[in-house]
């Protein structure tokens, strides 16, 4: 059995992660590991962004550390983090009883729903850089937002053929709730080890880098390089003979790099208002390009 409750009957952070992965694994999800690039949200990983396209069913769950440079607070704010852990679940197509399955997952990590207040409050999700949006709720547990629950409608600017549901659990919030901690840094990660022990230096140093020391011209140069490389690949796509071999996944990695560099530049205050929309547009164009090509590739594979 995964996870042992400590003396207070509470699960450690790592146990909660494992329990949820196990729960969704038992419901037909491939349990993936985090994607090995910087992303702002689990949605951006190819396991979500690309897999939701096209008609093929897919089920996957993974923990994704998500980086949002502008949200860093030098480790001083008890609730705000530069990098936080999301549990991302994609079920495509969405099962009819998905809300019930979701609520059961909360029971699986020790929340007795009979003793708590759960509400599904309207919250539609949108990512302009990914050309993606969906309809759904934020799930409120005793007034605390613990999950973003979204039925995807569009991704990479394309209407989705089959509607997937995306569940994004905010793991630090859930853990703080379960362990009754008022600061994320006090969360017990493993017996005797706190979240602060594991991550505080991370939060402090990346806040300093993101807000103070990141070199703006270098970031811009990197942005241009990644954009250029992605563009080069997308330009080569139409003429490439064996579609199945074409490295669209590599092209997409460069999209993710661009998105992260954009976030860094933004937290550095380096993107003026007039530029902002234009830069988002540049990343979006790449994302849409990869999404369209990916669908063509899938069709090429199917007819091969």
């Amino acid at each position: 059995m995964i996870g042992t409750q400590n003396g207070d009957g509470m699960y450690a952070f790592q146990d909660i992660l494992m329990k949820l992965k196990q729960y969704w694994g038992e419901r037909g999800c491939i349990v993936q590991e985090p994607y090995d690039l910087e992303v702002g949200a689990g949605t951006m990983c190819p396991e979500t962004f690309l897999r939701v396209l096209g008609p093929e069913p897919y089920r996957v769950a993974y923990i994704q550390p998500s980086r949002r440079p502008a949200d860093g607070r030098y480790g001083e704010n008890p609730n705000r983090l530069y990098k936080h852990w999301q549990l991302q679940v994609i079920l495509k197509p969405s099962p009819d009883d998905i809300q019930e399955q979701y609520l059961e997952s909360l029971q699986a990590i020790g929340i007795d729903l009979r003793k708590h207040d759960i509400k599904f409050e309207e919250d539609n999700w949108e990512s302009p850089t990914l050309g993606a949006w969906g309809i759904g709720w934020q799930v409120m547990l005793d007034g605390l937002e613990i999950t973003q629950f979204t039925y995807f409608q569009q991704c990479g600017g394309l209407d989705l053929e089959v509607v997937p549901v995306e569940l994004t659990y905010g793991m630090e919030r859930l853990a703080a709730f379960l362990q009754n901690k008022s600061s994320v840094y006090e969360i017990e990660w493993a017996p005797g080890v706190t979240y602060g022990d594991v991550r505080l230096a991370d939060e402090l140093q990346f806040s300093v880098y993101n807000f103070e020391l990141a070199d703006i011209p270098t970031l811009w140069k990197l942005f241009d390089l990644h954009e250029g490389e992605c563009r080069r690949l997308l330009d080569a796509w139409p003429g490439y003979p064996d579609k199945r071999r074409f490295p669209l996944l590599a092209a997409y990695d460069h999209v993710l790099k661009c998105s992260h560099l954009f976030n860094l530049l933004d937290s550095r205050g380096a993107i003026s208002v007039t530029e902002r929309v234009a830069v988002i547009g540049r990343v979006r164009k790449l994302a849409v390009g990869v999404a369209e090509a990916w669908l063509e590739q899938k069709r090429a594979e199917a007819t091969a």
């Binding site: 207040d117 605390l144 509607v163």
Partner: protein
């Protein structure tokens, strides 16, 4: 006819609370329309209800079937049906088809000639059959602002996925299907407290749901919340700060509401009350409480969607969330003090207002210029208006407003106060978004009104210049609200400013304002539409003047001479139009007194001359009522003129002179209200 109770329950995943009331209205009216079209509407009692997970429509007495009807079916022409008085095979075939004897056929006269016909009775269709055919379209036709598809592309669209359907006429299921969900008699209870499978009948529906922790009537949930709150506050010395909008939100966020009382650390009371209340209301959906002196108390009411909190776990959870939120707010409040508002003005260059309208720095400068101009027009000191206008948007750069956007304006005002700005300035900043709705007050000071006007007029002029004009329900820049705000501030603040001259460069904007003016004076102030039209047609600029003219018109309207004179003015207008003379033309047409005929014509001219001076004097003094009364007193002279004098005289010189006189009269006496716009009782009948 037999009547049956009908129950429709559309089981949906949580519908956004704000959309439920209008969806219910839509459901009810489409059902009533359907019933009327199908001849099932007679004496119908329809009620609708909803929780977040279900839209419900119940009818006590739906006719079981349509009434039978009779109609004529035409057969062959008489000439083809009978030859020499004997039926032909055509007649026999028709009779056979209709199932009657040839001798039962009747000859009928039609516009196309005589035809053989047969009377046929059409049995009414059963309601169950009709409903099963039409309900899917009716349900999917309920209007929601933003819909989704859920099984896949091309599938039905609704606000959220439909998960179950109950449709019962009497004890029979009305069969249909939407997106793979079939109707039945099985409802579902509260997600956590009730059964997921409850057989219901139209008669026991509400009761069955109640047993499963669903109060299906919104009123009942509202009452329960209110009673819970009363019980919680008994003996505490605390009072609820009523918030009807929040109450409605909570009514539609819950199936079984229970209120609880929570508290927060009194040390947070050092933060501005506006901040605390906003966090509680907008972010946590809590009611605020106050002590006997009306001061905010360190307590709150939360409404749960469950039957209680015996161990206090939910309360503790809410308290912890609130503490974190308040800690954030305190952090923002302190950090924001590090930089004064005036030092934030240059930072506005980093905040876009609208791509083509520049940044908020550009906007602040425009507001300051416009505010100054308005102050000078009213002969008041422009300095505080300019100062407040320049600082008004600076709070957009504060951490607090970035986090709690509802506090824009208010935070600016609070920071300005703390940073020593005079009351006139900080209050103007604080209130410059007002009025945010029809019920919201306008800014309480003149400076505040002028800053608010500058803000709104700038938005309107800028957006209209770029063609960003509201259309239908699309109004992304809230320009209707802005224009309505301008109207209310000018009228209710009694500010004699030349609105029309300020916006005259943009014809579309002038027209847009005319629509707002019509709406405001009719719907909000209760003037009749033709009164508003009459006054607008006479020209408008200063809205306080427009209001005075309207009030005078309303007062004079019931007097005996008024409506008959309005009829005569309409007649004059028609005569002039037929003669090719523009009634609105401002050019004064010369009247040759020497060729006026003695009697009614000359008398009318004399009466006009006498009244003209009087009316002009009254009008100058804005004594509109007296002016209108004076105009109305012209009626007998006008009546006699039309009785005795032929305008279209054979002599062209005399005719032209008469037309000129009428044109002068119309022109002179239409500058307060254009009487010809008045719809008289005669016309209405």
């Amino acid at each position: 006819m037999r009547r049956l109770p009908f129950l429709l329950e559309v089981g949906v995943e949580e519908i956004p609370d704000r959309m439920i009331p209008s969806a219910l209205e839509d459901l009810r009216s489409s059902f009533e329309r359907l019933a009327a079209e199908q001849g099932l509407a007679d004496g119908l009692l329809v009620r609708t209800d909803a929780t977040p997970r279900r839209l419900v429509l119940q009818v006590e007495n739906l006719p079981e079937r349509q009434a039978d009807r009779e109609e004529w079916v035409l057969g062959p022409p008489r000439s083809a049906a009978f030859q020499e008085g004997r039926p032909t095979p055509a007649a026999e075939g028709f009779a056979r088809k209709m199932g009657v004897a040839v001798s039962d056929l009747i000859v009928r006269e039609t516009p196309r000639g005589e035809y053989v016909a047969c009377r046929r009775s059409i049995p009414g269709r059963p309601a169950r059959e009709i409903l099963s055919e039409l309900l899917p379209g009716l349900i999917l036709g309920i209007h929601f602002p933003k819909t989704m598809y859920w099984p896949g592309k091309g599938g039905p669209r609704f606000i959220r996925p439909i998960r179950w359907l109950v449709a019962l006429l009497g004890d029979q299921v009305v069969p249909f299907e939407i997106a793979g969900v079939r109707t039945g008699n099985i409802s579902r209870g509260h997600r956590l407290l009730g059964s997921a499978s409850i057989p219901v009948t139209p008669a026991d529906y509400a009761e069955q749901l109640r047993r499963n922790y669903v109060l299906v009537a919104a009123d009942e949930r509202r009452r329960k919340i209110e009673q819970d709150i009363v019980r919680l506050l008994e003996g505490t010395g605390l009072r609820l700060r009523p918030d009807p909008a929040l109450l409605t939100t909570l009514v539609y966020l819950t199936e079984y509401p229970t209120a609880i009382l929570g508290s927060f650390d009194a040390e947070f009371l050092t933060l501005p009350e506006e901040v605390l209340v906003t966090v509680m209301r907008h972010h946590q959906k809590y009611f605020s409480l106050e002590d006997a002196q009306g001061r905010l108390a360190p307590y709150f009411i939360a409404v749960l969607n469950t039957d209680g909190d015996p161990e206090g776990l939910v309360r503790q959870g809410h308290e912890r969330v609130l503490r974190a939120r308040f800690n954030d707010a305190r952090f923002f409040w302190e950090v924001d003090q590090h930089r004064k508002l005036e030092d934030r003005v240059p930072m506005l260059a980093q905040v876009t207002y609208q791509a083509r309208l520049g940044t908020y720095l550009d906007k602040a400068r425009r507001m300051a210029r416009l505010g100054r101009r308005l102050a000078l027009l009213l002969k008041t000191d422009p300095a505080p208006v300019e100062r407040a206008a320049l600082l008004a948007k600076c709070d957009l750069t504060t951490e607090m407003v970035k986090e709690f956007t509802e506090l824009q304006g208010i935070m600016g005002g609070l920071y300005a106060r703390r940073q020593g700005e005079p009351e006139e300035v900080w209050r103007a900043i604080y209130e410059h978004y007002r009025p945010e709705s029809m019920d919201d007050p306008i800014p309480s000071t003149l400076t505040g009104c002028l800053v608010a006007l500058a803000d709104k007029l700038d938005a309107l002029q800028g957006c209209f210049r770029l063609g960003l004009v509201p259309s239908g329900s699309r109004d992304p820049f809230a320009l209707r609200r802005a224009a309505q705000g301008v109207v209310r501030i000018l009228v209710e603040g009694n500010l004699a400013l030349p609105l029309r001259r300020l916006i005259a460069r943009d014809a579309a904007l002038v027209e847009f304002f005319e629509d707002r003016l019509r709406y405001y004076f009719r719907e909000v102030r209760g003037f009749r539409y033709d009164e508003v039209n009459a006054v607008l047609a006479a020209g408008w600029d200063d809205l306080t003047d427009l209001e005075s003219r309207l009030t005078a018109l309303r007062q004079v309207r019931p007097t005996e001479n008024f409506e008959p004179l309005a009829v005569s003015f309409k007649r004059i207008k028609n005569i002039l139009r037929q003669a090719g003379i523009l009634a609105a033309s401002s050019e004064a047409r010369a009247v040759r007194e020497e060729i006026l005929e003695a009697g009614p014509e000359r008398e009318l001219w004399q009466a006009f001359q006498r009244l003209r001076r009087q009316v002009a004097r009254r009008r100058r003094r804005k004594q509109y009522r007296e002016a209108l009364e004076a105009i109305a007193s012209l009626r007998p002279a006008v009546d006699r003129f039309f009785d005795k004098v032929l305008v279209n005289a054979p002599d062209p010189a005399i005719r032209e002179n008469r037309l000129n006189m009428l044109s002068r009269l119309l022109q002179e006496f239409s500058s307060i209200a254009d009487f010809s716009e008045i719809v008289t009782t005669q016309e209405e009948n």
